[in-house]
């Protein structure tokens, strides 16, 4: 399944690629992409693990850029 989020306050492109990289490596994630231009994060992952993945993704984002808020798009 595929879910899209808005990353409010995403300012640094290098951070965006770090987020993409780390979320993509989470268990159960098939593909993760951060679009710096539209500040959207798309996670494609297994449905059963989705909730857990979203929590982990939030953690990762907080660590890389503390001001960014991840919202449902």
């Amino acid at each position: 399944m595929k879910k899209t989020f808005k990353l409010m306050g995403l300012g640094c492109a290098n951070c965006a690629s770090k987020m993409e990289d780390r979320i993509g490596k989470l268990d159960g994630v098939n593909n993760a992409s951060v679009n710096f231009a539209t500040t959207k994060l798309v996670i494609e992952a297994e449905e059963l693990l989705m909730d857990k993945i979203i929590e982990s993704a939030k953690d990762i984002i907080k660590k890389i850029e503390p001001d960014v808020v991840m919202q449902k798009a």
Binding site: G11, C12, A13, N14, C15, A16, S17, K18, N31, S33, N35, F36, A37, T38, T39, K40, V42, K62, K63, I64, P66
Partner: protein, 617 residues
């Protein structure tokens, strides 16, 4: 108070303190230090907090941390002014950078502002305004003049002119009537439409297009992957170099002072963020993809922009791509009667037939068929028709038909399908029916050549003389004719093998029955994508309208975008390495370091915004 205002206030306050500190010129070093330290903390407090948080989070090598270390280091070696100034400079730069990024994002968003905000659903006698998401198939929606059509559907009442430019880039309005199909994203220019919804919002044209464009950058170009990888190693390597430069020379070289080399090392840290390099690439690519979509060209990934810019061979399917795919009467050759009468006989004789030739004849005839004039209709499949028109025996068909009836017909040079017409046993003339080339096909081939396409190829299942004639007419280099669908893939494989390593090949088709060929090419381009899900699905690049000239436009956009991205990469790398080299020699100050970092970023972001504009393409 907004974040921006707060930050601005802090910068101003810190600047005043900094200037005071410089002007006061006191011998009291404690007071001096106190003033500079206060200024530093007001300006850089946020950066220090962020740096501390990221260290706790286990991600030490980020911008904030590096900037914190560099400026704190400056304080340690007594360069107070430099420490504060660099922090201030960095903040101003960041603000400018945020502004530039914001502006660029907003222009991209404006360009793609084709999302309908609401739908008006008819429920009994009431009109209810709702979210397009909540409308079901079969619901009736009402669209007034000036409103955007929110969902795909069929017009059940009313007619109007539609502006399709959001989907096609085409500004000529299109007329729709009751019974016609309308696509979401179009704007009703006048009149009032009642539409029966045929697709839910998610399946509607507008949301498919937006989805495609917004996710296009997830398919990354080689250059982008390279830079991401480069950025990963760049920061740690520069940070290690900074450490080595600060420590080694003072220990190994006689006369080298610790303070001097530490300063050089700190300058390294200031330049060690790869942001300028990384930031401008997604913005540039996305700008190019957004700009193309504004012209009715959907590019499904940054990687295809890259391939488009490297094309040297373009392979076309003929029917429906270079030609209209509609068969029309091209020529009437009359031997013994008025050409108008010949067409009159032929159109009437064929009027009961369902063969495409019959439709072409009716269309060319253009008048009402007098059914009462016709009797005794007989159709001989693969040969033609025979009937009585106005009491005269009329035969219309190919040479075989005439031969079986014992009628002699002259030899004819022709391209296309030849229909002989015989009245009362004698051959009176012939009508040539053929597919017509599109108005802009010839120009498209010529402009492709002018922008550096070395080889143009046409593939067709049509007869040799038909295919070669079209190829000649359009100025296509090579034509392969009488091909079966498998044959097309085979030829494409051969062309790909002949291709140079660095060049790319595109195949252009209608996306309906050439999916395997589209998939095999480096770039598969489908034409006439508007309203055709199959075409949008199958291709890498979708041209919404039917114009081959848009291929040239998409290549131009790709070349321009790649040019901008390359400029940014080269510019930021050159500046960074130059400052690194100068810093090693002790010739660059930390100020130059900040300029190399944020200044270059701002310039690169502004430059990447040029990719959005397609005015001169």
């Amino acid at each position: 108070m907004g974040r921006l205002k707060q930050q601005l206030l802090r910068i101003i306050l810190a600047s005043i303190l900094l200037v005071t500190g410089i002007l006061i010129n006191t011998d009291n070093t404690t007071l001096e230090l106190a003033i500079f330290l206060a200024s530093y903390l007001i300006a850089g407090g946020q950066v220090l907090i962020k740096a501390a948080r990221s260290v706790i989070g286990g991600d030490a090598l980020n911008e904030n941390f590096l900037m914190a270390i560099a400026t704190i280091g400056a304080f340690f070696i007594g360069e107070y002014v430099e420490g504060v100034a660099v922090m201030l400079f960095y903040l101003v730069g960041e603000m400018m950078q945020n502004y530039a990024v914001d502006k660029s994002r907003r222009s991209i968003a404006d360009l793609m502002d084709i999302r309908p905000d609401y739908a008006i659903v008819k429920s009994g006698n009431d009109l209810i305004r709702t979210d397009p998401d909540e409308v079901a198939v079969g619901d009736i929606i009402v669209v007034s003049a000036g409103e955007r059509v929110p969902l795909d559907g069929l017009v059940i009442e009313g007619n109007c002119m539609l502006d399709t430019s959001a989907l096609t880039g085409e500004h000529v309005p299109r007329e729709v009537f009751a019974g016609g199909e309308v696509l979401s994203g179009c704007i009703n220019l006048n009149g009032l439409l009642s539409i029966e919804v045929t697709k839910v919002y998610e399946e509607s044209t507008v949301s498919k297009i937006l989805d495609l464009v917004e996710n296009a950058t997830s398919k990354k170009a080689k250059m982008e992957n390279f830079i991401t990888k480069f950025a990963k190693y760049y920061t740690p390597v520069v940070a290690i170099l900074a450490a080595l430069i600060s420590v080694c020379p003072p220990l190994l070289v006689r006369g080298a002072t610790f303070a001097d080399w530490l300063y050089r090392g700190l300058t390294f840290l200031v330049i060690s963020c790869p942001c300028a390099l990384v930031i401008s690439i997604p913005l540039g690519f996305f700008g190019g993809i957004g700009g193309a979509s504004g012209k009715g060209i959907l590019i499904k990934g940054s990687n295809y922009l890259e391939s488009l810019s490297k094309l040297d061979t373009v392979v076309f399917d003929k029917t429906g791509t270079l030609t209209k795919g509609v068969f029309e009467v091209q020529e009437i050759r009359s031997y013994s009667m008025d050409p108008g009468d010949l067409l009159d006989y032929a159109a009437h004789a064929e009027s009961y037939s369902n063969h495409p030739i019959s439709f072409s004849l009716q269309k060319a005839y253009g008048k009402q068929i007098g059914k009462s004039r016709i009797s005794g209709f007989e159709e001989n499949a693969g040969h033609g028709v025979k009937c009585l028109v106005d009491g005269k025996t009329v035969l219309a068909g190919n040479r075989k038909l005439m031969a079986t009836m014992g009628i002699n017909c002259p030899d004819e040079e022709h391209i296309g399908t030849l229909v002989f017409v015989a009245v009362d046993g004698s051959c009176c003339g012939s009508i040539i029916i053929a597919d017509e080339v599109k108005e802009d096909s010839k120009e498209a081939i010529a402009t492709l050549k002018s922008i550096g396409i070395k080889k143009t190829v046409m593939l067709t299942g049509d007869a040799k003389n038909v295919g070669e004639n079209v190829a000649d007419l359009l100025g296509i280099d090579i034509a392969f004719t009488e091909l079966l669908p498998e044959g097309k893939v085979e030829i494409l494989e051969r062309l790909l093998a002949e291709q140079g390593q660095t060049a790319a090949l595109a195949f252009v088709g209608d996306g309906l029955n050439d999916a395997p060929v589209l998939a095999r090419a480096d770039v598969g381009i489908a034409m006439g994508g508007l309203g055709s899900d199959a075409a949008i699905e199958a291709a890498d690049v979708v041209i919404m309208t039917d114009e081959p000239s848009k291929i040239t436009a998409s290549i131009k956009i790709a070349k321009k975008t790649m040019g901008i991205v390359k400029q940014n990469v080269v510019f930021s790398l050159v500046v960074k390495f130059a400052v690194l080299a100068l810093a090693t020699l002790g010739l660059a100050s930390m100020w130059a370091g900040v300029l190399a970092d944020v200044g270059v970023t701002v310039i690169a972001v502004l430059n990447s915004m040029r990719a959005l504009s397609t005015k001169n393409i």
